[in-house]
């Protein structure tokens, strides 16, 4: 196998993640603080895998009520209607605007799920020390990180609608408990993506090459 480029950790150096300064650690156990920006230094993020797992599990738990519980309650003159995310998708689809239905389905249902699966995949491969598809996995990680911020769209729409449509007693829109869980899913997956240290992806391959030498 073609050995990858040397990493800073192999060279006994540590990179500050904040200002990007490469420095020698105070001692290998506790690298200390960055001489330039005083940020805490670490060869790898602390407990990255464990924390990411915790966040992903939490997000997965929240994903279920986010889709089952109503995100929005529309109360009109006659009564109240509770809408779940999938209900909204079905409503849009049945009323003929399937492109919108598709957008909502992708943005609100599939992307959070895909993020969870992608992060879990990355974690498992890292834990198993896989050395294959390093670049693809890195690309996947970048994608997950990029997409994360857009997933809050649903929550924004929900809060705007609730704030704007308050025509009591004719009509009012109230937030449902589902939106809380949905927001939790988004925030937790974003944090999970943040906690995951992508450098772990290459560490295994470096170790392998070291062992092979």
């Amino acid at each position: 196998m073609k050995p990858g480029p040397r990493t800073a950790a192999e060279a006994g150096l540590v990179l500050c993640e904040i200002c990007g300064l490469l420095s020698r650690p105070a001692n290998p156990e506790e690298p200390g603080h960055c001489p330039r920006c005083d940020g805490e230094l670490a060869f790898r993020r602390h407990h990255s895998i464990q924390r990411t797992w915790a966040l992903i599990v939490a997000a997965a738990i929240c994903y279920l009520p986010a889709n089952v519980l109503p995100v929005m309650t529309t109360s009109g003159l006659g009564g109240a209607d509770e809408e779940t995310i999938m209900g909204g998708v079905m409503l849009l689809y049945t009323t003929g605007s399937w492109p919108l239905a598709l957008i909502v389905l992708i943005a609100s249902v599939m992307i959070p799920l895909a993020k969870l699966i992608a992060l879990a995949y990355l974690l498992i491969t890292v834990q198993r020390g896989s050395i294959r598809n390093n670049r693809e996995r890195a690309r996947l990680y970048r994608l997950v990180e990029f997409v994360g911020r857009w997933s809050m769209l649903d929550v924004f729409v929900d809060t705007f609608t609730v704030a704007l449509i308050q025509l009591q007693p004719l009509m009012a829109v109230l937030p449902g408990p589902g939106v809380l869980f949905f927001a939790s899913v988004v925030v937790l997956t974003m944090l999970a993506a943040e906690t995951f240290d992508p450098r772990l992806i290459w560490d295994s391959s470096t170790e392998r090459t070291t062992q092979n030498e």
């Binding site: 006659g78 009564g79 209607d81």
Partner: protein, 583 residues
């Protein structure tokens, strides 16, 4: 063996850094999430009430996930699925009921689909126009649980907690009644019709009414119910009488009940007691006849216009009614003849007799009654078909006296006995009308019209001639007239000239003549003055004679006036002479 050992010969222990199996605090996050999610799940499971199935005829306005189940306008559940029944004939609605409403779902609970309803008696369910239909529930009183129900097609009118009682009315026809029709007691709306359907005999209707408390206690065993059409018109000797209920009942009708005025107070009727529903107030309060006698008539004329229920009157008072109208076939003689069966209520006769003593002497035994009737028949009492209304041709049976009628006997052996009949008045009128029509038919209308036409033609010709003549006069005579007028004008001018000449030549001569005349008059005056003295002196003989003569003349003149007056009054005396005065 004192061999020193080199410590380096021993293998070096591998230092293994202690793995700190420290659980990160971050695991607290999924823990919290799990607890919260679990909590929600548990709560959802605990609040899950029964899932019931309701069968409806149609799923109109029912939507899975949208339609709610409401009790007193509070959401207690939601329809989760709508599907066809196994035999595709009905709709099965599956609804999830909240845990808190579970006690409402019992064996005798009723479900219906609440839709907007606009009836004459009111508007209901307007809210459903905006919110969509919902399923209403009226909880039952049973303790038994049930999960499968058959939905009502129409909302029930009465809710269980309303005090009052239900009664069942039997009617021949439904009239204008429908569910929700008002029930009146002395014109006060005290209840409504809650259901109706065919009775057990499938010939009459059973109408269930609900009378609110406290008016339900006025429904007693003697209470009469009748259909209230709203307007009651009656034409009597006092003129037109109009009785109306409230405007609402004028529009939609209703049921009214009251106690008969002479009924004694009794216990309120039991719930679900049955009553007869009369067609109107008069029928409801009509006195039930206790004594009935039947008779048969065989009229000789057409029975057109005689219907069952037509009155039988005795000298104009109603004493019975027609019960049967038909034709009797006599196989022996092979003849058909009209047959009318009547009922006579002897009590009515008694009621009409003012004197109680006379009433007491009325015939009691059949023999007495037969003799009584026979005596009436001997005096000429006969039944006759008479016309109630000349326009509609309605007939009734009248008992009247016809002293000239041929003798008749009532055969009491026959049952019912036959009453002798007098040919009807209507038939005779018809005969007369027919005679008149025949005469009219015989008139030579054709000839008359032909003559008339001829006359008119001649008149036309004459008028044409006259017209021609006028035209000719216009052309020929008018120029002559014009000429004549011109000549006349000339003559007048000549006359004018002559007058002027007369003025100049004749007037002086006339003046002279007048002066001469003046002179003559003066001398005549003188002569007269002399004569005056001779004639008019107090002792002048001429004077005396003249006075006598004048008196004579005055007398003659008076006589003459009398004669003139007489002649004026009796000018015929000039011809016939003075009439001799009658002795």
């Amino acid at each position: 063996m004192n061999e020193k050992t080199d410590p380096t010969e021993f293998p070096q222990a591998v230092p293994v850094p202690k793995k700190r199996m420290r659980l990160s605090v971050v695991w607290f996050i999924p823990l919290v999430a799990a607890v919260v999610a679990l909590g929600i799940a548990v709560q959802a499971y605990l609040s899950k009430g029964p899932t019931i199935t309701i069968i409806f005829k149609s799923a109109e306005g029912i939507e899975a996930g949208k339609t709610h189940v409401k009790y007193k306008d509070i959401n207690i559940g939601q329809v989760s699925a709508v599907g066809l029944s196994e035999d595709y004939s009905k709709i099965e609605v599956t609804a999830k009921i909240d845990k808190r409403a579970e006690p409402l779902i019992v064996k005798d609970s009723k479900f219906w689909v609440m839709r907007p309803q606009v009836t004459l008696s009111g508007v209901s369910g307007i809210g459903t126009l905006l919110s969509g239909n919902y399923i209403g529930i009226e909880p039952g009183k049973s303790k038994e649980k049930k999960l499968k129900f058959i939905g009502l097609e129409v909302p029930p009118v009465i809710t269980v907690d309303q005090p009052g009682r239900e009664f069942v009315l039997h009617a021949d026809d439904l009239g204008s009644l429908s569910i929700g029709s008002p029930v009146y007691y002395r014109r006060l709306n005290v209840g409504q019709v809650i259901a109706y359907g065919l009775g057990k005999d499938e010939k009459s209707f059973d109408i269930e009414v609900f009378v609110n408390s406290p008016y339900d206690k006025f429904v007693q065993s003697d209470t009469r119910f009748w259909q209230e059409s709203g307007i009651d018109l009656s034409l009597g000797a006092n003129g037109l009488t109009v009785r109306t209920q409230s405007l609402l009942s004028v529009l939609i009708g209703g049921v009214a009940f009251e106690m008969p005025p002479d009924a004694a107070e009794s216990e309120p009727a039991a719930a679900n007691a049955g009553f007869k529903l009369y067609s109107d107030r008069t029928a409801a309060f009509a006195v039930k006849e206790k004594e009935i006698q039947r008779y048969v008539l065989y009229p000789q004329e057409s029975l057109r216009g005689l219907s069952v229920g037509a009155p039988v009157s005795f000298l104009g008072l109603q004493v019975g009614e027609v019960t049967e109208v038909g034709i009797e076939f006599n196989p022996a003689a092979f003849t058909l003849r009209p047959r009318v069966e009547i009922e006579v209520y002897p009590r009515r006769f008694v009621a009409h007799l003012s004197d109680a003593a006379t009433a007491a002497r009325r015939p009691r035994t059949p023999e007495e009654r037969h003799a009584f009737w026979q005596r009436l028949v001997d005096r000429g009492l006969r039944a006759q078909l008479q016309s109630q209304n000349i326009l509609t041709g309605q007939l009734f049976i009248a008992f009247e006296y016809f002293p000239d009628a041929p003798k008749a006997r009532i055969d009491w052996a026959k049952q019912p006995p036959v009453v002798p009949v007098m040919p009807g008045g209507l038939a005779s009128i018809q005969d007369k009308v027919t005679t008149i029509l025949t005469k009219v038919e015989k008139l030579p209308l054709d000839d008359i019209s032909r003559d008339l036409k001829k006359v008119l033609e001649t008149l036309d010709l004459t008028l044409q001639d006259v017209n021609k003549m006028v035209v000719r006069v216009d052309g020929e005579v008018v120029p002559d007239v014009k000429k004549t007028l011109g000549t006349l004008d000339q003559a007048l001018q000549n006359a004018d000239k002559m007058l002027v000449r007369v003025d100049g030549e004749v007037v002086p001569e006339v003046k002279k003549t007048l002066e001469d005349l003046q002179k003559s008059v003066t001398s005549a005056q003188r002569v007269l003055a002399n004569t005056d003295a001779a004639l008019l002196g107090p002792d002048a003989p001429a004077q005396q004679d003249l006075r006598d003569a004048l008196q004579e003349i005055t007398r003659a003149a008076r006589e003459f006036r009398v004669l003139a007056d007489y002649l004026e009054r009796h000018p015929e005396t000039l011809i016939r002479g003075k009439a001799q005065e009658k002795p």
